[in-house]
Every structure is written in structure tokens, then in C-alpha cells.
């Protein structure tokens, strides 16, 4: 299920927000796909974005 790792985080957040209620969302962690809520996925992405910015 791997794709471009550099896809813009905001683009993905907007895409997740556009999904209808009840759609399953997963986060990959060390090869394991964990089912999460939309909010958890968005928080995960925002955290990732902050980490990326602090590394710059």
C-alpha cells in the first residue's frame, strides 16, 4: 500500500476531510496498518508535519 512519501500533507488532510462519515482510515506503523478515526489520522499528519518542520 505504499505510495509517494512526499505527497503534500495538507492535500491528504483535505482529502480525508472530504471523505463521507464512516469511511475506514488506516495508519501504517512498522508494517502494521492500524484502523484510526479521521481525527486521529489528521492529528497524526499534523504531528508529522511539525516534526518535518522542526528538522528543517
Amino acid at each position: 500500500m505504499k505510495r509517494s512519501p512526499n505527497k503534500d500533507i495538507h492535500e491528504i488532510i483535505n482529502f480525508l476531510k472530504s471523505l463521507p462519515e464512516g469511511r475506514k482510515i488506516y495508519i501504517e506503523m512498522s508494517g502494521i496498518w492500524v484502523e484510526v478515526s479521521r481525527e486521529e489520522a489528521i492529528n497524526f499528519l499534523k504531528k508529522k508535519e511539525n516534526e518535518n518542520e522542526s528538522c528543517k
Binding site: R3, I12, F15, L16, R23, K24, Y26, E28, M29, L45
Partner: protein, 146 residues
């Protein structure tokens, strides 16, 4: 004159290096596009074959286990940044097709950049030829005047 030729050679080499870099990018894009097209074909194939079909799911690089396709009305699609989302079958197809379109558009931009670099190289070559012709002419005139 010799310095000019060296400068032009250097510039041409730099352009060629850029072209090679762009070609490598195009190669990566082509590989991604091929994978996405394969995904589309597989999804369509699974849908056509019907639910309840037995499929082999790879476990590592050596083993496979049998599983049954329970339903094909939902597809989990990777949307980047380690996130996957469940989409309707048709939505998933459209999502993948849109991704292919985006990549093809980007590929076109890279191809245009390569064409521009080739045009620059041709200009440089033409410039070199012109300079060398002028120099030959100049030398001939000098010889005549002597």
C-alpha cells in the same frame, strides 16, 4: 578561441547532466505509472471475476496463503504519508486514474524541459560553428594581407 570552446564544452556537459537527471526522474515516474495501471487492471479483474473467488495473498517473498474475496464494493487506497483510506470501488478507480493523470502531466513538463535543454545545446553548437568559421575567415584575411 580555445577558452570559448572549453566554456561551451562545459556548458554542454552541464546540460547533458541535467537531461540525464530528468530522464532518471521520468524513469521513476514511468515505474509508478505502470504500478498504478497494474492496480487498476487488478481491481477491475477482481471485480469481474466476482466475489467469493479464491485468491493467493503473498506472505513475505516465498509463501502464499489462500483467501476469499469477500466484497469488492470497498477498496482501501494508500493516499500517501503512511495513510490509507477506504473508498467505494468506483471512487478508488477514479482516485487512481486521477493520480495517473497528474503523473502524466508532470512527465510532460519534464519532457518539455528536456526538449528545451536540447535546444540550448543546439544553440551552443551553432554558436561554436559560427565562431570557428569566423576565426578561419579572419586567419585567411590576415594571411592575404601579409
Amino acid at each position: 578561441m580555445a577558452n570559448e570552446v572549453l566554456d561551451i564544452n562545459e556548458a554542454v556537459r552541464a546540460y547533458i547532466a541535467q537531461i540525464e537527471g530528468l530522464r532518471a526522474e521520468i524513469g521513476k515516474l514511468d515505474a509508478t505509472i505502470a504500478t498504478l495501471r497494474q492496480s487498476l487492471a487488478t481491481l477491475k479483474g477482481l471485480k469481474t471475476l466476482g466475489e467469493g473467488k479464491t485468491v493467493l495473498v503473498p506472505v513475505g517473498s516465498i509463501a502464499q496463503v489462500e483467501m476469499k474475496v469477500e466484497k469488492m464494493d470497498k477498496v482501501v487506497v494508500s493516499v500517501g504519508q503512511n495513510i490509507s483510506a477506504e473508498l467505494d470501488y468506483e471512487e478508488a478507480l477514479k482516485y487512481i486514474e486521477d493520480e495517473i493523470k497528474k503523473l502524466l502531466a508532470f512527465r510532460l513538463v519534464l519532457e518539455q524541459a528536456i526538449a528545451e535543454l536540447y535546444a540550448k545545446i543546439e544553440d551552443l553548437i551553432a554558436e561554436t560553428q559560427q565562431t570557428s568559421e569566423e576565426n578561419v575567415e579572419e586567419e585567411e584575411n590576415e594571411e592575404k594581407s601579409e
